[in-house]
Symmetry: D2
Subunit: 140 residues, 4 copies
Amino acid sequence: MSPLNQAEVERLFTASPFIQHLGLKLVSITPGECRTVLALEERHLQQEGYVHAGVQATVADHTAGAAGASLIEPGQFVLSAEFKINLLRAAKGTRLECVAKVLKAGASLSVVESEVYCGTGDDLRLVSKTTVTLAILRPR
Amino acid sequence: MSPLNQAEVERLFTASPFIQHLGLKLVSITPGECRTVLALEERHLQQEGYVHAGVQATVADHTAGAAGASLIEPGQFVLSAEFKINLLRAAKGTRLECVAKVLKAGASLSVVESEVYCGTGDDLRLVSKTTVTLAILRPR
Amino acid sequence: MSPLNQAEVERLFTASPFIQHLGLKLVSITPGECRTVLALEERHLQQEGYVHAGVQATVADHTAGAAGASLIEPGQFVLSAEFKINLLRAAKGTRLECVAKVLKAGASLSVVESEVYCGTGDDLRLVSKTTVTLAILRPR
Amino acid sequence: MSPLNQAEVERLFTASPFIQHLGLKLVSITPGECRTVLALEERHLQQEGYVHAGVQATVADHTAGAAGASLIEPGQFVLSAEFKINLLRAAKGTRLECVAKVLKAGASLSVVESEVYCGTGDDLRLVSKTTVTLAILRPR
């Protein structure tokens, strides 16, 4: 991975107000794979006390975007074209961890899979799985 | 729609910390259809200045949940089993509006479609379309 | 719609062996909207006697492709990048009808929605809803 | 896996007319994992000479259903509630192979992932990835 793309991935976490507002942190980035973590607070929950599906979707989508961005050329950027999330079990705990891996890197479209784990301490369980299609664009 | 389900729909907006944190407001609810609005702030944006896909997904998912909840029996509640969102164009403006309509109400699963519009003043455009599968549950 | 694109849509039904094998027929095409019909036979069913989800998916995907193809420029062609289908109720009857409408026509990606109806005579019910993302390509 | 569920999985391949018509064969079944193979013929292709997305979707959906059925109790059966397929590259070759693995087995819903590979001889490439939500039902 080029230094420029390292910069592009870091920009996704420092220049995205919603991600900073949510509290999502970059843990690691390698070509085609990104890991993030979110310390859970009450504000991330829905009405039954579980982590809101929208929080999980945001984490999955953004981490996937970073995994995809790790492989693009300087000057390109990624936008999500669509994604689909399966909520596998109710998410409770103090921490979300996400790992996103590029399944197919293309010239104009990339497909990335994100797994979100939730729990407390070392006891984390897979709570959702997301597939993201990224459009790879050049600034207009 | 029974008064109890009106109460359940309202609870989805008053008892969900993430939704209150985001700022999403209930506009109207009728059996099988829910409308919401979000006044956009900088904290809702991603790194290119567009509304983050995670914000749109949260709005679409939660409004769909409310539309589905409008049709359930007292004592039941809904959880999203999965959803899929297509981001149709970059979302810019001062306001998101969402309308969610139940496509199929079932005894254990309901399918709801959400359209999210974005813009300023009366100039709103469809920016994303989401299909949500809701599981209909009873408290354990 | 240009005569050339009419030709492209018709080619999708005359030059696709799987579609001819299945028996899917073009009913009508206007810019951004396509209708098809399938006379059901026992070979289209699954083990419970319902129309197989794969038959519905094929019909929904192909009709969506034709709706998208109706709007492309001469020399372009469409390929499905992804689709998502919700099976809303068990499909039984003598006939499938599909209507596909373009939700967003883009330069490189189009999003199309397909509804599949099933039944006998005039008694048709919506049995599945599909969202298809088409990639718009030029021959290499 | 109980003998009864072995029987249920085998029934999915012997009692489904569309699957027999397509030519899909069961290769192996273990609890939560199913493998199938399809010898490709011209009738499986679309208008550009690639394997039709509907063929891939049928293979992915049905193999997922078998993987899910391997884990159900006697007397239950599975129906696809929804699925989403990403077509990763154009599929050409003489053979499709599919492996489906249960990601989450639930009491009323299971989530299964299917990978479809295509090629000739030992040169097979991943051509599509599908996520299937199965409803687990009892005969009425």
